[in-house]
Symmetry: C2
Subunit: 417 residues, 2 copies
């Protein structure tokens, strides 16, 4: 029995189901995947729940690897899209428990534990209206909050890394498990959903209460709202009564692919880096504090009356106190796409760019208009970090709430339309 | 004290050395990195030895992540190249022990354990002779075995992923540790060595005696020569008396970036896949056996007299028995560079390519002429797998032996020249 209440083959016996070649050997293969695990870390054997009030991968403690994928819907048939969401839901429920996906599972996750896999689905504006067409009869149900992202100062978005009708973010403590999940969902989607762009990401294996460092060498996420505080999550992350019914308990995802000029950053002194960020590099403490979680004192001045946290330091511009109290939940990963000597960036930094690496910025919020858009408007104009960071892609997606075992992802949207 | 016998700052107190800003707080930071680790897996805290008869990263049990980097040497000054190799040796010795690199370490590996980091250095033909120039007075010492790789049938090598004067392969159980190592070495090389191409790779977190599966879903590496058998390693991996003195105890690296048409592979039946590989997908057993490590019976035929392991199956063509008894040590990783709708591949497969993913094939051998070149010549012409695999980059590098604590990598080459 698995979590959806049905007896299902595990990853170990998928071949029996797939082609019957070894049906006679079924007894050998009918072993639960969990029993056969001999991985290096007990934690990697854990699974995250799939069914529930909210989708996984939002408040879930960040896994070490992600594979984000954006799809274009290429079918104009509403029933096919509903069928796809049904199939994706069933497949994700199985894979979250460490099982194979229905159909011809490609097999690279056989014998691997669930690795805390989560898959988070989101809807881009194209599912409601695309090229002037209301393809699925959903146009009237597009949430007001699902705006078109404005062009921000400095944006160098590349079409090949931007937008999409549906987003899927797989996160797992093993990159092969995350890749496997996206690959199965893409296969299941053949003819209905077409891969548009993808992005891998990773985090270091830090301890559970340690804030991971990004590729700039700074701790990233120190000032996140507390995910273990349901009130804060209701206030900042989950859509409430203000949204359409089908989005209650969901959240809005803003993802940005941010290339960072690491070769230039590395030439800066640590003191300059700290002034730019507004935090100390080693400890993560704000420039006005001693410890990582000390609240930044934005009003503190030195003996000459200058702000100790500079006016254009990143943490000042991102702070709730600079944004009418608004906070967003960041769930960032680093990315490393190797070297690329073609830069999207404006002069003078265009020369000498090597690394195509940086941040896969992932954020969840109750309303992007008062969340990312508001906060990043100020950042994009003033932040000293902009000298090093170029947004080269991304998107905005409405992530519906979680599902119970008799539902499919997005069902409440289609049911009301 | 660290492994080179000197007292050195750990990653935790690098800022003291880097800029003196927090020198007054030294007492707080003088804690060994090993004490502060609270990672999910005890194994990740382990370190691999740096000094020794052979370089690390060849016989080392494969770490879960790699970052391969190829550099062009842009200085024509022999002393600068020697200085770089000295600096790279010292930096690698430190980082292998979980410490920061000399100079302005970028900091993203602060607080992280060594994660079994190894860095393996290799010399391409360009260090001996490039564009007709013997830049460093080494031309006479180019090993005969360091040939120019021939063009193989089906090669679609892309300049941006091919060649280079020096190779550096970082492997670690944390992608951030591997990235950090290459980044520090690239920084130390500014002005002397210029990044040319790089490639990330990963393996699933399998148990220590479990063969990892590649993205085709098959176990990969079952028939490797045994790394715990010094005689086999001497026979197949390490250069002996036949090589130049400076290469004795070294090995030749052939690396190939192999893009695999996963979207086409996924449409094939498991039976077809098994005939193509010559092994069973689930168990990894050869088609003539029951268990993964059963030796393939290349002579076995069915009742009609047809080979059970097909004539153009991958394991037949790669087998020692088909190659005058030669074996090479494979140390492959999977790679995932997302999607790329521009294919290097010839028709009819050019259409419909999505994944830029596949295999970062890494192999070590005593002599590439009787190793990779011999074996792959046959494979490239006959292997059924070629329908799905396209070699899009790579190189051949002479990896010198390991070093003792008073040596630098490649010292014996420069000392004799």
């Amino acid at each position: 029995m698995n979590s959806d209440g049905k007896s299902s083959p595990t990853r170990r016996n998928f071949l029996t189901a797939a082609c019957g070649l070894i049906a006679a050997a079924g007894a050998d293969f009918g072993v639960s995947a969990a029993i056969s695990i001999a991985g290096p870390s007990p934690a990697i054997a854990d699974s995250e729940p799939f069914w529930g009030e909210h989708q996984g991968g939002i408040l879930t403690r960040a896994q070490t690897h992600t594979y984000f994928a954006s799809f274009d819907l290429i079918s104009t048939n509403r029933q096919e899209v509903i069928g796809l969401l049904r199939d994706w839901t069933a497949a994700t429920a199985r894979m979250s428990g460490g099982q194979t996906a229905p159909g011809s599972d490609s097999g690279e996750a056989l014998d691997l534990p669930p690795a805390r896999l989560t898959v988070t689905f989101g809807f881009g504006s194209g599912i409601f209206m695309k090229d002037g067409q209301d393809r699925y009869g959903l146009a009237a149900h597009r949430p007001e909050a699902l705006v078109d992202l404005p062009r921000f100062n400095g944006d160098q978005l590349v079409e090949a890394h931007t937008g999409g009708d549906v987003s899927i973010q797989a996160c797992a403590d093993d990159p092969q498990v995350a890749f496997h999940a996206v690959r199965q969902l893409a296969r299941i989607g053949y003819g209905v959903a077409q891969l548009r762009w993808t992005q891998t990401g990773f985090l270091p294996q830090t301890g559970p209460n340690q804030t991971p460092r990004n590729l700039m060498g700074f701790k990233d996420g120190s000032n996140n709202p507390p995910t273990d505080d349901p009130k804060a999550m209701q206030q900042f992350v989950w859509v409430g009564g203000e949204g359409p019914d089908w989005m209650r308990g969901g959240s809005y995802l803003v993802v940005r692919r941010i290339r960072i000029a690491l070769e230039h950053w590395d030439r800066m002194s640590v003191e300059f880096q700290e002034q730019t960020v507004g935090r100390k590099k080693y400890s993560g403490a704000p420039l006005t504090g001693k410890n990582e979680f000390d609240p930044p004192d934005l009003d503190a001045v030195d003996k000459d009356g200058n702000s100790i946290i500079p006016d254009n330091a990143h943490i000042r511009l991102a702070a709730a106190g600079s944004n009418d109290g608004v906070r967003i939940l960041r769930r960032p990963y680093s990315y490393n796409d190797g070297v690329n000597f073609t830069s999207e960036r404006w002069p003078p930094w265009r020369q000498g760019m090597e690394y195509d690496a940086g941040l896969l910025f992932v954020s969840y919020q109750r309303d992007p208009r008062t969340g990312f858009i508001k906060i990043f408007d100020g950042i994009s104009k003033l932040d000293m970090l902009n000298q090093f960071a170029t947004h080269t892609g991304g998107g905005l997606f409405a992530c519906p709430p979680g599902v119970s075992a008799d539902e499919y992802i997005g069902q409440r949207l289609f049911a009301t339309a």
